[in-house]
Amino acid sequence: MAVMTYLQAISSALRDELRADERVLLMGEDIGVFGGAFKVTDGFVAEFGSDRVMDTPLAESAIIGCAVGAAVVGMRPVCEMQFSDFISCGFDQLVNVAGKMHYRQDLAVPLVVRLPSGGGFSGGPFHSQNPEALFMHSPGIKVVAPSTAADAKGLLHAAIHDPNPVCFMEHKHLYRRVKGEVADGVYDTPFTARVARAGSDMVVIAYGAMVDIALQATEDLDGASVEVLDLRSLVPLDEEAILESVARCSKVVIVDEANMTCAAGAQVAALIAEKGFEDLDGPVVRVATPDVPIPFSPPLEQAVLPGVDRVKEACRELLAY
């Protein structure tokens, strides 16, 4: 057991996999000699060489497409998108080639795409996005989004061991801000939800960076007992855990950092409306980023991203309902 940052936990998972499995190969822009834009692979080339920690041409479609090719001949590629925003350039290969392969012709595509996501540090419209819902809407792709260091490591191991394409949404704002105890060695965290804090008056459902926001917002909410459910995995979505929390708490706030329309939280809300309606004591409340590009200037960015105050206000209103 060691205390690590979220970023160190991701590095540790990658290092352990490279040591344990010669099929594992990292591919991305500036991940080799430079160690990656966020230094996730800092020092890797010295240990594993530039073939296995591959600096690729600046071409996201090629990174994903070549990873598909490598995967179907027995490799276990882990691709880094330098920023999750850049996946738009690799969308076709991921959605049409990788995602549909097994259904069409029983050919598994074991690859992982790491997607440094999210805002909060003036990245502007092209370095702050949360594109996970695009892939929830595309059959054949799993999507996970850790909120803690321990889950960052365990979910990344599980993603690399999974025989399917997995989008690993790693939140940039958590990289160096979140620290926690991480077990030694290789372990798989299941693609299921986790109760981050148990409660009974209300549940806040979140994932990624919004889990910590939800915990802070509900730490002291006029004595209310507030549960926080960390989804961890968006595909598959842990319907059982969501409905259990709803049954226990009867009031639900769903928080997304992504743009509101058709976000992961919209799917969770639809699920609750269909299957948890009888358990509800109030309307399902959503807090998300409005449908605007993420602006650059700090006051503008703070005005759109869900923060502690907005979540707190939404929770208070619902508790009073």
Partner: protein, 358 residues
């Protein structure tokens, strides 16, 4: 790096050296099967037994037959929709191809995808998607894995003149050039991308672009199966010897419309007539008649094989829908691609034990 031009109108000395009589018969047989299966499928389409539309490679049979014939069992192929002969050479039985067209349970994709959108993974093939140059990157990635593992194998894919306009063409050519990968790109220049002619597709003959990416580009008569074979054989040799990729531009003509609905009014009649005289099947047939091969017997044998295959495919059931939701994800171990058939006599000595995979 200069662009070479393989002149192969009447056959080449190099093809003569590497093709035994049995190989030449194999090439004709593959093309006859392709043409016969596609003709049968078109008539099944007209009878309403092939759902969706139907796409064929009439007039282009030599491109896939010749190129696939140069591939070893352990090589890997991404086969496109006008390349049926490649599937036949790798070992896909005609009945499964006809079942595939008809959306039947015995088709390669069990009705999940249509037409030639398939690859038999057990025979080392990855099925195409409709965004055609996408497969150039998949082939590049397979070649990358071979090089990283130090294996003497190559990957090959086909794509069309229209594909050269998309970014994935550039990304694949560039990546393959930068990493000097064992990959063969076969540009099937059939004069039209749907209805769009070449002069609206590119300002420079795409074979010239190979030099800009740092590897060889070869222009071949795509209606000559033996020239296609020989150019691909040489490209494969360069690939497995570590000399990098090759772009082969196979110049041919799409003699039917883009799909069954397309009457190709946009194609000048004299262009079609000119290419009809260069028919690839007739050409190989003439060669074999000169070598005293009983081509009529071969034709009869192929026709009988297609009849049997069609009867069998028509007797097979449609999928039921009971498992239509299954298989979106792989639930067990990821099984990689298996090895395909490689009938060229040149592989007879070097053929690895059956059952290889990856």
């Amino acid at each position: 790096m200069a662009t070479e031009t393989a002149q192969a109108a009447g056959g080449t000395a190099s093809a003569d050296e590497h093709l035994q009589l049995e190989d030449r018969i194999w090439l004709l047989r593959a093309m006859l099967l392709m043409r016969g299966i596609e003709e049968r499928a078109m008539s099944l389409y007209r009878q309403g037994k092939v759902p969706g539309s139907f796409y064929d490679g009439f007039g282009q049979e030599a491109v896939s037959a010749g190129a696939a014939f140069a591939m070893a069992p352990e090589d890997r192929l991404c086969i496109l929709h006008r390349d049926l002969a490649a599937h036949l050479i790798r070992g896909v039985p005609p009945t499964r191809i006809l079942a595939q067209y008809m959306g039947r349970a015995a088709g390669i994709t069990r009705g999940r995808d249509g037409n030639v959108h398939f690859g038999d993974r057990r025979l080392g093939c990855v099925g195409m998607v409709s965004m055609l140059p996408d497969m150039m990157l998949v082939a590049t990635g397979m070649a990358m894995a071979f090089k990283l593992r130090g294996e003497r194998r190559c990957a090959l894919t086909w794509f069309g003149d229209g594909s050269t306009s998309r970014g994935d063409f550039h990304e694949a050519m560039n990546w393959a050039g930068v990493q000097r990968l064992p990959v063969v790109f076969v540009l099937e220049n059939n004069q039209y991308a749907y209805s769009t002619p070449l002069d609206k597709q590119f300002a420079v003959d795409p074979v010239e672009r190979a030099a800009a990416y740092g590897f060889a580009g070869v222009k071949v008569d795509g209606n000559d199966a033996e020239a296609m074979f020989d150019a691909t054989r040489q490209a494969r040799q360069r690939a497995v010897d570590g000399e990098g990729p090759t772009l082969i531009e196979a110049v041919t003509m799409r003699m039917h419309g883009h799909a069954a609905h397309d009457d190709m009014k946009y194609v000048p009649k004299d262009q079609v007539e000119e290419w009809r005289r260069r028919d690839p099947v007739d050409r190989q047939e003439r060669r074999l008649r000169e070598l005293d091969v009983d081509v009529d017997a071969l034709r009869a044998e192929v026709a009988a094989e297609i009849d049997t295959a069609a009867t069998e495919a028509l007797a097979g059931p449609m999928p039921t829908g009971d498992d239509v939701l299954s298989g979106v994800f792989c639930e067990g171990e990821a099984e990689p691609l298996g090895d395909g058939h490689a009938p060229w006599s040149g592989f007879a000595d070097a053929r690895p034990a059956a059952g290889g995979d990856a």
